[in-house]
């Protein structure tokens, strides 16, 4: 299964096919604060992409596949309408890194 739902996050892996779009959209609609992790994703069906475009879940990690990442960046421009949302993401992103660093020194 290319989509793994773990708590409030969906991890998309490998090539996500058209069938996944239905499950993903239902899951994203079920609760507002759900997030997606695309780091292991290598390909998306256009229907899955549409879910991401229309429902705008927060993206925890962009695909490591550079080409796909560029397509996603084009399709999902950073939402200018929600500035607080954006800063939040930024803080979140930097947090684990800081934690990791402090963990390393300990």
């Amino acid at each position: 299964m290319p989509i793994r739902f773990a708590g409030a996050r969906a991890v998309l892996e490998g090539h996500c096919t058209v069938e996944e779009a239905h499950d993903l959209s239902e899951w994203l609609l079920a609760a507002r604060a759900r997030k997606i992790d695309l780091s292991g994703c290598t390909g998306l069906h256009a229907a899955v992409l549409q879910c991401l475009m229309a429902l705008r879940p927060e993206m925890i990690a962009a695909p490591s596949d550079g080409d796909l990442a560029r397509w996603l960046a084009a399709a999902l421009p950073a939402p200018p309408a929600l500035p607080p949302h954006r800063t939040q993401t930024r803080r979140r992103r930097s947090k684990p890194a800081a934690l990791r660093r402090s963990g390393a020194t300990l």
Partner: protein
């Protein structure tokens, strides 16, 4: 001109600059060649859109590249030429012979300057004078029409996407050149998911993708109403592939796409945009941008920054960066400067929902041909090494024999032979691969001739068309290169002596336009080039008279020669039939020079003439100076090589089976009588009658012959070295080769001996 070219980025310092200059020189030469070719096509058919586009592109690229260096004269000349071409492209000025002459001369100057630039790094001061003269001449052609109307109405042959113009700069930016680009607007059917279409996949796999943008077609509905299976996407793409390729890509969804063309020059003259940059500035900025994209640019950041600053200063525009910028800042700055041109009004951009992202990296390789330019010296080294490997490898069978005979280890001998088979196979493949690299199509050689023929014909007031066939025939680079001079000579001779003047031709009832044909083809292991004309042919009596007059042959022998033999006399050294020595040919170093070059390459040249109908010169050359496979035979303890391609089979036969017909001997094989020839007799050795005769069945031409030898050896690959020096004229042998054990193998030229 509104803008002076900025000072050069830097005096040529450092290896990087030198490298950049070297690649510029090489590229410019290729472009000049393309331009020359296109110009000739265009002269014949002024309506040839493809040719004018090719010409324009080539000239344009030269200009862009020249802007990187301190070459104001070149930029000036090429810029004026480009203006003229652009007018021709729009049909405002007509191409004629005189214009073609001027443009060709201009290109010649550019070619010369590139040579000088390569040599000295600078152009002579006189260059600017020449550039001004030509620029004035080109402008004068333009002057009559003097219509400053911007070229807004170029027919595209397809839909014109407004967004493509808006994003023109970005598209050109990612495309790395300025077009033309194919633009696609792809709005998949809302129900397309049910027919198995994946628009994202379709879009991502478009050939030659340079730019894309993806956005919802209509605003997304309330999340509760969102249906993931209704496609609501609008994808915009730009590709540098051919229109047909893109059309082919979208062949299953013709209703969902509109395909248009974006011409490179179109977006720059944005109608009525006061803030637009002058075209030359755009060029220069673009040149900086492509320099930035060069991988070998580390040392040039400062130079590029300086150039951009100069451009901005000249334009009175603010400099889009501060201090010492890094690569990314410069890239952003060039993009920004170009946007100032293409998008004077931010409002024009309003309908763009998503931010366009130029794909790089993974997608780019599709758009460019993956080739590697290598110095010829390196390939030659590789070839020599392969040659040595072949010789070294041939030592292994000797080693195996030694292991068996001298050291009595049969097993070791067998093992060595097994290893030998492996090395032999690899070495043979390696050889093939290296030879393949060295193969070049003859078109590389032929492409210089249309221009030459045209120039000579114009000078002599003759009308000549050159027909070239078989350009794709390939041969070794050495062969191709060595052929340039002989072919030039033969063609000149043909035009000078063979082709009659227009008046003569009319009197003879021949078509006004003479035809010279240059035909290449491959025949077995050789490449054959025929140069034929429909001129007056070679007069055998005049050739005889001339040869006697020059004391090349005595009258008695000349009289005995058939006409066909007589015309071959033109190949004798010191023969020249031109009544008056023209500046083209007839300097007395004619056909004998041709013959010596061809023979040095291991080829042959023949001349056929039909008086009044024309002459054909046929060059036959080996495809490559490759390794030859030979079968060694033993004769009185000495090894001789026989080219493997002649050998049909080897037979050991009882002497009683040999039939004698008077002095001749023959054997019967498969109901065929095969005449026998004893190699010992041929080479003047004493006879040898073993209990079992070894007969090599050979096919020479159309005849089958049995050659009696003492014993058969092995097949081996050798590098055949023709005889040199005092042995050069020895008949019966085609050359020698060094064997793995150091012995010299004589290779027999059986075609000549039998």
């Amino acid at each position: 001109m509104p803008l002076k070219p900025p000072p050069s980025p830097a005096p040529p310092v450092g290896a990087e600059q030198a490298e950049l200059a070297a690649s510029f020189v090489e590229e410019a030469r290729v472009l000049l060649e393309q331009a020359g070719e296109a110009l000739l096509t265009l002269e014949r058919d002024p309506a040839d859109q493809e040719a004018i586009n090719a010409l324009f592109r080539a000239v344009h690229s030269i200009k862009g590249a020249a802007g990187l260096f301190d070459l104001p004269a070149m930029v000036h000349l090429v810029h004026a030429g480009e203006d003229l071409l652009s007018a021709m492209r729009e049909g405002r000025v007509r191409m004629d012979s005189a214009a073609a002459d001027e443009l060709l001369e201009g290109l010649d100057h550019v070619g010369q300057w590139i040579g000088l630039f390569q040599q000295d790094g600078v152009l002579p001061p006189a260059a600017m004078e020449i550039a001004r003269r030509y620029a004035a001449a080109y402008r004068a052609r333009l002057g009559g029409t003097g219509d400053p109307q911007p070229a807004g109405e170029v027919a595209t042959g397809g839909t014109r996407h407004a967004w493509a113009d808006d994003h023109g700069a970005a598209i050109q930016d990612s495309g790395g050149h300025d077009g033309p680009f194919v633009t696609v607007e792809y709005c998949p059917d809302p129900a397309c998911f049910f027919s198995g279409e994946d628009p994202l996949h379709v879009a991502r796999t478009i050939p030659g993708l340079v730019w894309f943008d993806i956005a919802p077609r209509e605003a997304w509905p309330d999340p509760r109403l969102f249906d993931p299976y209704v496609c609501n996407l609008r994808i915009r793409l730009a590709s540098c592939a051919l229109l047909e390729e893109v059309e082919q890509h979208f062949r299953y969804m013709p209703d969902a796409v509109t395909i248009g063309l974006l011409h490179g020059s179109a977006p720059s003259p944005v109608v009525g945009a006061p803030a637009a940059l002058p075209p030359l500035a755009v060029e220069l900025i673009e040149a900086q941008r492509s320099a930035l994209a060069e991988p070998a640019r580390a040392g040039q950041i400062a130079d590029i920054a300086a150039t951009l600053r100069n451009i901005c200063a000249a334009l009175g525009q603010p400099v889009p960066f501060a201090g010492t910028p890094d690569e990314a800042a410069l890239a952003a700055a060039t993009a920004e400067l170009l946007t100032r041109d293409a998008l004077p009004d931010a409002a024009a951009n309003a309908d763009v929902a998503g931010e366009a992202v130029p794909p790089t990296g993974a997608v780019r390789p599709d758009t460019t041909e993956r080739t590697l330019r290598v110095e010829q010296g390196r390939i030659d080294t590789l070839m020599n090494l392969v040659g040595e490997l072949v010789v070294a490898k041939n030592a292994l069978p000797f080693l195996a024999r030694d292991a068996e005979n001298r050291f009595g280890s049969r097993e070791l001998a067998r093992e060595i032979k097994e290893r030998y088979a492996v090395i032999d196979r690899i070495a043979r493949q390696m050889q093939g691969a290296v030879m393949d690299i060295r193969m070049m199509p003859v078109s590389d050689l032929f492409k210089r001739f249309p221009r030459m023929v045209r120039d000579i014909a114009r000078k002599q007031d003759k009308q000549v068309q050159l027909v070239i066939e078989g350009e794709t025939t390939e041969a070794d680079k050495n062969v191709i290169e060595a052929l340039a001079e002989p072919l030039t000579h033969i063609l000149r001779n043909s035009l000078d002596h063979g082709i009659e003047t227009g008046a003569e031709r009319r009197a003879l009832g021949k078509p006004d336009v003479a035809t010279v044909r240059l035909v290449a083809s491959q025949e077995g292991d050789s490449v054959v080039i025929d140069i034929s004309d429909d001129g007056r042919g070679v007069d055998p009596d005049r050739v005889r008279a001339k040869a006697i007059e020059r004391a090349l042959i005595d009258a008695e022998r000349a009289a005995q020669l058939t006409d066909e033999q007589a015309v071959q006399l033109v190949f004798l050294p010191g023969f020249s039939t031109a009544e008056a020595i023209s500046d083209l040919s007839g300097r007395g170093v004619g056909m004998d020079a041709v013959r010596s070059v061809i023979e040095r390459l291991g080829g042959e040249v023949t001349l056929q003439s039909r008086p009044g109908e024309g002459t054909t010169v046929r060059l036959r050359l080996p495809l490559s100076m490759a390794v030859t496979r030979v079968l060694t035979v033993d004769l009185a303890g000495q090894a001789y090589g026989i080219p493997m391609d002649l050998v049909v089979e080897t037979v050991r036969t009882d002497p009683a089976a040999i039939r004698r017909l008077k002095a001749a001997e023959a054997i019967v094989r498969r109901d065929t009588v095969i005449p026998l020839i004893r190699l010992r007799t041929l080479l003047g050795m004493e006879e040898h009658r073993p209990s079992l005769e070894s007969v090599l069945i050979l096919r020479i031409g159309h005849a089958t012959v049995g050659l009696v030898v003492d014993d058969f050896g092995t097949g081996m690959d050798i590098i055949l070295k023709p005889f040199a020096g005092i042995l050069a004229n020895m008949s019966g042998f085609s050359g020698t080769a060094v064997l793995g054990d150091g012995r010299v193998l004589l290779v027999l030229n059986l075609k000549e001996m039998l």
